[in-house]
């Protein structure tokens, strides 16, 4: 299985359409390999972005330098996936 160790999911809140456009720019930066779980759509809707560990700082700096508020929705994606895998194994054993 591909691992997601250290990947985080950030929840960004765009204040206006200009910030939404900035998030769309981020989406277009394919080299970062960010994965939009919930894409930029409207200012009142959160935008959830899975960010690979390797570019985490880069993306956070990008958001901060564009004054886009964000919080960390998932600290470590792999931890949740490991838990999920463990739950499946326990259920299978049961």
């Amino acid at each position: 299985q591909k691992t997601f160790v250290g990947d985080q999911v950030l929840r960004a809140h765009a204040k206006d359409n200009a910030q939404l456009d900035v998030l769309r720019e981020l989406e277009a930066m394919k080299h970062l390999q960010v994965d939009f779980w919930r894409g930029p759509s409207r200012p009142n809707l959160p935008v959830d972005i899975r960010v690979p560990n390797a570019v985490l700082q880069q993306v956070k700096v990008f958001l901060e330098s564009n004054s886009i508020d964000y919080s960390i929705m998932i600290e470590d994606v792999q931890e949740l996936l490991d838990q999920e895998h463990q739950d499946i194994q326990s259920a299978t054993l049961r």
């Binding site: 591909k2 929840r11 394919k30 759509s41 959830d48 996936l81 999920e84 499946i88 259920a91």
Partner: protein, 308 residues
């Protein structure tokens, strides 16, 4: 009963387990449930639809779960829903009444290759697994591949994008299998396409700002449906046209269905809780399925009461 009764509905399962469970359901409810092989996925997996029918060729309600493979709560809800339909017939008067007037057709794993891939290789895989000529990137977004506004800006022409629309409309066997089935059936009255997450109920259109001729009725039914869903655990849904509620999306199943005469066409986005996204803990499968059931019943009763 031993087969599907001992099955754990509160855990996630592989495609092999789900297909095996389907075999059990068929054995358990032979008079009500049949399996229709509607096609094969790109990698050759069978694509199954379950038909719940009391006989005759009745108008039908189509439900599909899991067109985006990483949205695991969706397939899990599909499994629970299938058992609920089968076990409620003759017990629950509302569901019995629906099945006495309509067939229900449920496709539990709409994107089998993608789903298998999420279990074997990449939990975050969303698309199909078809190879794209001229690109190293694999897969097409099967919910941008339908012939409704196909190829518009609410999808991507880049095979590496998660919203890649594919080479042409219905290029994906996972999509054309459904298209062929529904068109051949000719009497599908509702198409409910279930996704996760973000807790939304969406209806046509996604590819245009034009309002559907049935916009008012679809809105009122969405409101009732969202209220029914919230009544169990308080889960709040927003609702509206796809384009007005989230963003422009071209080539979606719901728009295709509506444009092909299926008035009651909705996309569900099941729960998230705002903390887990696609990694919703398995303990939330049953609560999610239970609240979704109330929503499905609201739509199905409306379809039964408003023939067209």
């Amino acid at each position: 009963e031993r087969i599907t009764g001992s099955f754990s509905y509160s855990t996630y399962h592989t495609i092999e387990e789900i297909y095996s469970w389907i075999d059990g359901l068929l054995l358990e409810y032979p008079k009500l449930v049949s399996r229709i092989d509607i096609g094969q996925s790109y990698e050759g997996r069978p694509i199954y639809a379950l038909k719940f029918s009391t006989g005759g060729n009745k108008p039908a309600i189509w439900i599909d779960t899991g067109i985006h493979s990483r949205e695991w709560i969706t397939q899990a809800t599909g499994v629970w829903t299938a058992k609920k339909i089968a076990s409620s017939y003759g017990v629950d008067s509302s569901l019995t009444d629906i099945l006495d007037n309509l067939d229900i057709i449920l496709e539990i794993v709409t994107n089998p290759d993608g789903y298998a891939y999420t279990h074997s290789t990449n939990r975050m895989w969303r698309k199909t697994r078809s190879i794209n000529a001229g690109s190293t990137c694999v897969g097409v977004d099967p919910n941008r591949n339908w012939n409704a506004g196909f190829g518009g800006p609410g999808s991507s022409s880049n095979p590496c994008s998660e919203t890649y629309h594919g080479a042409h409309p219905h290029s994906e066997p996972e999509v054309y299998s459904v298209v062929d089935f529904i068109l051949a059936h000719g009497n599908v009255k509702a198409m409910l396409s279930i996704h996760s997450y973000s807790q939304m109920l969406l209806f046509p259109y996604g590819y245009t700002n034009d309002l559907a001729p049935d916009h008012e009725e679809l809105t009122e039914l969405a409101k009732q449906t969202a209220n029914a869903l919230a009544s169990l655990h308080g889960t709040q849904y927003t609702y509206g046209t796809t384009i007005a509620t989230i963003y422009r999306a071209d080539g979606t199943a719901t728009d295709w269905a509506y444009n092909n005469g299926i008035k009651y066409s909705y996309t569900f986005e099941l729960r998230d809780t705002g903390r887990y996204g696609f990694i919703l803990p398995a303990e939330q499968i049953i609560p999610t399925a239970e609240e979704t059931w109330l929503a499905l019943m609201t739509v199905m009763e409306h379809v039964k009461n408003h023939p067209y």
